[in-house]
Every structure is written in structure tokens, then in C-alpha cells.
Amino acid sequence: MPRIGVYVCHCGLNIAGVVDVEKVADYAGKLKDVVVARHYVYMCSETGQRMIKEDIKAHNLDRVVIATCSPRMHEETFRKTVAEAGLNPYLLEIVNLREHVSWVHSEEPEKATEKAKDLVKMGVARVKLLEPLEKRRVSVEKKVLVVGGGIAGIQASLDLADAGFRVYLVEKTPSIGGRMAQLDKTFPTLDCSACILTPKMVDVARHPNITLLTNSEVTNVSGFVGNYEVSVIKKPRYVDEQKCVGCELCTQVCPVKIPDEFNEGLSQTRAISIYSPYAVPKIAIINPNHCLRLKYDKDVCGKCLSACEAKAINFAQQPEEFMLKVGAIILAVGAEVFDASKMPELGYKRYKNVISNIEFERILNASGPTKGEIFSPQSGVSPKTVVFVQCVGSRDKRFHEYCCRVGCMATLKQAILVREKLGKNVKIYVCFNDMRAFGKGYDEFYRRARELEIEFVAGLPSDIRSAPDGSLYFDVYDKGTNKLLEIKPDLIVLANGLVPNRDLGKISALFHVSRSADGFLLEAHPKLRPLESLTAGIFIAGSCQGPKDIPDTVAQASGAAAKVIDLLMSGVIELEPLTAVIDKNLCSGCQICESLCPFSAIEMKKETVEGVEKVKAEIVEAMCQGCGLCVSACPTKAIKMQHYTDEQFLAQVEACCSEEKTRRGR
């Protein structure tokens, strides 16, 4: 005979404000097999939990039903509570009286109370049929894969490596550093970006616990939390990493000019070159799509071969494949910049004097295409009027609805740098919708810009026009003066927003991480779990989760590293026992379940039964996520879901529809 305790929570007024919790507790107390029924203000509190534990002991309870908020909130908490009192934690049933009753039926308290009673009755019916279960323990690899070598990936790698974990840092481009390496100064301090970043880049290269794989990509992921198997392909540089000394003699002799990707196409580099100033590793790389010898597969050119004193060039270099076993993965693949040619009315890629913020960043940079000098692309001389246009591609239902978060601050920084470099002889305007300077020191930075007599125009232009001689002009209505301003700039910098990395589709499929509606990677909970994906063991950090600035990126990176350390520290993890179980005697070997399982958690195993070789399905417990697909698909009903059996559900249905219901008001 089961001995059930029922606890009805008021949840302050959240539940009690609508549901008559006393009546519900009273009703519960009269149900068969319910030995004790109570109600209390906050069941999850110290007092509430103590109440339950004492009752378990005092009344010899072997089942507990708690009617409270959503199990997503406190099921874990209450499982620990009953476990502390000696009861198996899976002999607990949570009935949701908040999200399913008080929050949705707030206008009808009487009916809500009746519904609450019914739900409790159903909970009692189910709890009787629950079985004790044990969490499963699996050992884990104390190694971590970090995908993406920008500041997020770099920070996470250093934190993990310092904590004693082996880290594999995989970066798609030939050098780590990401976006931050492209920046000139950073807001709000105007620190030189390279100066604060390069020491960390060097640390990564030197750290004994970090294996740096540049020019590499992940090609396959299998396994489960604590035990991932990842295939990485390292694409050939055609340069021997052990021999190259980074002298760049090869670059000087190469005849093939290609657009310099690091400089956003504003300058040219050669088919063999070092990816960026301060590249880590500082090793040359040959672009196989442009190098004459590699593109045409002929014995031509070869000038770099003769120039290289270290004899590091190897046209026969093959890609390398690695199979890595890791316990956790951090995705830090970053974001891209909006392509403003999608808004032809602003003149980007039509008029020379209209450029993007990332292009301007390279121009401002002393190691960029103009050695840090600012001039109007059309005329080649210093601009007299510079205009920044905000919200390009962001806060726009036609492109991306979200605010890019960094556009305002990046523009303030660039505008201040223009003032510092060109002095008083330049007029600087910022056309904005809202100025968002939300962080520490940010609004002070905005004030600094105003003090430098940068003019802020509260209004956005509709279009940018070019006169026949190539000079630009546009109209913008200003809210402050209620006047239409006619401005003739010689340089326009568009504040293009950050957009999801074009590889996110591939990443999403490879790692089984979802994307949110805005296209970025989806976190497990927007407020309380921003660094975890919905797949156990895979974490996200930096602007792949959403556009953000460097301080937030670094915070997220360290946070994700801490979460990984937390997960893998003990060398063992516990997994929920809410998995499918197959009765081999009923399994016909039809393989329907194996073909349906989205987590590849079912394997077909050969077995000899009475001398006959048969194929039977087997659940890989560690990978099973308890989705129930196989359970419903199995034609012989050989599969059962632990903690969610058919009998348990049918008992709830029975309780809901049974005769007792007609005897109301007892």
C-alpha cells in the first residue's frame, strides 16, 4: 500500500491568489492512499522543505506529490529534498498549479480551483506507479574543444588551460585573433586593440595545455556529454610549420595579387602571405585558388620556392585529419558584419566615399591599408566633412530586427578618433535613431564625443546621393531643430550591424545546437543559462550567441570555461535516468527505432538466441535524451520510457475522467 504525502504550495500569491489552496489540500487529504496533505506559503523554502522531510520520516511516506510551480523551476530542488530524507528522488511527482492553472485561469478562480484538484488527483494516480531510478554515472574526458579563435575562444582556452585541462583550439582562418585583431582602438578606453590582444594570442601559442589548430575546421561530431568524438581537418598551408620563420620573403616575390581579406578587401596581398600583422602562428600560407602552381596543377612559377631560405614551402602538403576525444565543447565562432549593399539607397559599393564601419576600422589602424591615415577615397585628401549613419541593417524589419548593441559605441569611438587624427578642421556628424551607451564608462564616452564638438543629428537619412562629379550629398530631418539639414560629406561611414556568421547553419547541424529567431545560436535560457546550449556538454560564448562588445564577450568566455570546469572537474558526470529501455524479448529487430532516433542513441546488436542469429535494438543510455520517439514508434511495444510509462499516463487519464469527478463538493 503506498503512503503518499501531498504538498500544495501557495507560491506567495502566485498560486494562492487564484486557487483556493486550502480546499485543494483538503481534497487531496481525502484521496485514497494519501496519508498527509498540507499547504504552505513557499514549499521551496527552507521551512517548506523541512516540512516534507520531517513528514517522510514521521509518516513513513514512500511517495510524494508537490503541487507547485513548473517542474522546470524546482523539480531538481525537491528531488534533492526527498533524497535527503531517504526516499528515491524519482518517487516524486510535481503538479503544476502555476503555469497550468493560476497563471492561465486568473479570471476564473472557482474553475481554477476545480482544475487544481483534478490535477492533484492525476498526480496522485501517477505517483503510485512511479519506480525508483538511479542516476547513471559516466566517466568523462578532461579535454575540451574550443571552436573559434577570436577573443572569446582565446579567453576560454586560457582559462581552461590554466585550470589544467587540455584544450584543442580550432580556428578556421590561418591566424587566431578574430574581429578584435582587426580593430584599431577599443571603446570606451581607447586601448589599442592589438596591444591588449596579442599578449593573449602569444600565451595561447605558448601554453603547454593548448593545441592550436589553425586553418582547420570541425567536420564531424559524435558521442555525448563527457565523451565527444570530434573529427577536425587541418587544411594544408603548403608551408611547413616547423620550418617557416615568418620572414615574408616569399610574399615579396609572389606575382599573384589577391584582395586582402584581413583588410576587408581594401588592399591587396599575394597568393602566398602571412594572414595578418601579428598573426599567430606567424607562418605563411598559400591560397590554392589563386596560386598559379596549385590552381592549374602545373609546374609553373615557383618563385616562392627559390626565395624561401628556410626551404619551408611544400606544394605537396596534404590535409591532416585529427580525431579528438573531448569532454565538452565551447562554440565561439563569432559574428559577421552586415553587407550594406543590401541597402542600395545608402550608396555602399556604388559610391567610393561610402564605406562600412569595419572597413573604416582597418583604415584607422596603423597597420592597415592606409597606415592609419584618413582620407576621402574619391579625392585622396583629408575629408572636410565626415558623416556616420547608424542602424544600418539593424532594428530593421526588412533585414535584422535586433539592435546590434555595438554600433553606437563603435561609431562614437571612430568619430572621436577622427577628431583626434584630423583636429578641428573637419566637421563630424552622427545621424542616429537612439544613442545606446549602456555600459561602464560608456555614457561618459558619449559625453566626451559631444565635448569634441561631434554633431549628433537625431534623424536618419532616407538615401545618400551622388552628384555627377562624384561628390556626395543627402538630406536628413533633425528632431532637435525641426529642420531639414542638407549635408555634403566627403566620407560616409555606415554603422553596419553584426549579423550571424554564415557558417552557423553548418555549425548548428554539426553540433546539434539550435538557433534563435534572430539567427544566432540559442542559449538554454535567456536569463539564467546564457552560456549553455540545449545539448548537454556544448557551451556557447561570444557574439555567436548574440552581438556584443569585448567586455561581455570576455565575461561570457570565462563563464563558459567555468561551466566546463564545473562539468568535467570530478572526472565523472551524472546523467538523468529518464531514458528509454528495450525489452529484448519483445524486440523484433525491425530497426524502425534506430532509423528514427534523432540522437543516434539506438544501436542494433547481433545476438544468438537459441542458436539463431538475430538483430536486436539496444539503447545507448548515455546518449538517450528521453524524447520518446522510439517508444511510440515501436510496433511491438518493446520500448518503454523510464519514468514516463504508458501505465503511468493512462492512470492519469483514468483519474481525470473517473466517476469520482461527478461527486463534487464532498
Binding site: R395, D396, K397, P461, S462, D463, V476, K479
Partner: protein, 171 residues
């Protein structure tokens, strides 16, 4: 014509009912998304010559000054170039708002530009909004459809007038 917006606004008070009625006529609520970026006004064809500020119209409707707008002359300055519809980042579409305000002006029997009423009469009588014209060449010779060997216009059948009036008179 009728009154300027500034005068109408001088003692105006917001009217929530009028705003609700307006929103149901418009059929969508995107205008509440307007965040006053001023892009529409910056590019408005009618701004320089006629001082039309679409952002102001959207804001005024949102705040409940529908009646004042419907009675004003400013709503008849819109050129219907549709640039504001195309470029608004929140799809608030000032053009559609202005058209509903015009319909409201007609309902309230405020004085509207005569040409619209003349066009209506012509459509009622002939089915077309314009009357056939004679045109002259650069050499001052005069032609019409017939002399240009263009086919006769097939005016609508008799039943057209009554059916058209039906929908015009409906509430």
C-alpha cells in the same frame, strides 16, 4: 481649403476612441512600432515644398489626434510616391495612415480638394475618371481618338452606376 495642422493642434486633446476607430480601419497595428527614426521625413517628396512630415503624422495618430489630422490640409499634400512605405524599418507605412485619414475626412464631410469629387462624379457617370481630350501636335494639328484610328472606348454597362453607388454609400 481647410485648416492648417498647427492651428488645429493648438487646443487639441487626445481622443482614444477616435484612435481605436482609426486602428480598426487601418487593419493593422504596425504604426505603434514607429520609433521616430525620421527616415520617412528625411526622404519625403512633399517635405520641401509642402512641409509634410510623415513621422509627425504617425506620432499624432498614435497619441490620439486623429480628428485634427483628418480636418487638416496637410494630409492632402502626400504625393503617394511610397518611399516611406519602402524604407520604414518598422513597416509603419505613413502613406497608408494618410489614406485612412483622407477617408475619415470624407466621412466627416470636411472640405476636401475638389478634383477628387470631380473624379468621383466622372466615374459615376462614365466609368472613367477623366474625360476624353483633344490633343495637339507640336505643329498645332488637333487629334482625338477617332482621328488617330484608336478603337472606341468600351464604357461600362448600365448596371455599373448603381452597383458602384452601393459600395460608395455603405457605412
Amino acid at each position: 481649403m481647410n485648416v492648417g495642422l498647427t492651428d488645429l493642434m493648438s487646443m487639441a486633446k487626445p481622443n482614444i476612441e477616435a484612435r481605436e476607430k482609426f486602428l480598426s480601419k487601418l487593419g493593422n497595428k504596425e504604426l505603434v512600432n514607429c520609433f521616430q527614426c525620421l527616415k520617412c521625413t528625411s526622404g519625403c517628396t512633399a517635405l520641401k515644398l509642402l512641409e509634410l512630415k510623415p513621422h509627425e503624422i504617425v506620432k499624432l495618430v498614435n497619441l490620439g489626434f486623429v480628428d485634427e489630422l483628418a480636418s487638416s490640409d496637410i494630409i492632402w499634400t502626400c504625393v503617394t510616391c511610397l518611399k516611406c512605405v519602402q524604407r520604414c524599418p518598422q513597416k509603419a507605412s505613413p502613406y497608408h495612415i494618410i489614406m485612412v485619414l483622407r477617408n475619415m475626412a470624407v466621412e466627416k464631410e470636411v472640405q476636401i480638394p475638389e478634383e477628387y469629387l470631380k473624379a468621383f462624379s466622372r466615374i459615376l457617370e462614365t466609368g472613367l475618371a477623366e474625360a476624353s481630350q483633344e490633343v495637339s501636335t507640336r505643329k498645332m494639328e488637333v487629334f482625338d481618338r477617332e482621328s488617330l484610328n484608336l478603337p472606341k472606348i468600351n464604357f461600362p454597362r448600365e448596371s455599373f452606376q448603381a452597383v458602384f453607388m452601393k459600395i460608395m454609400e455603405e457605412k
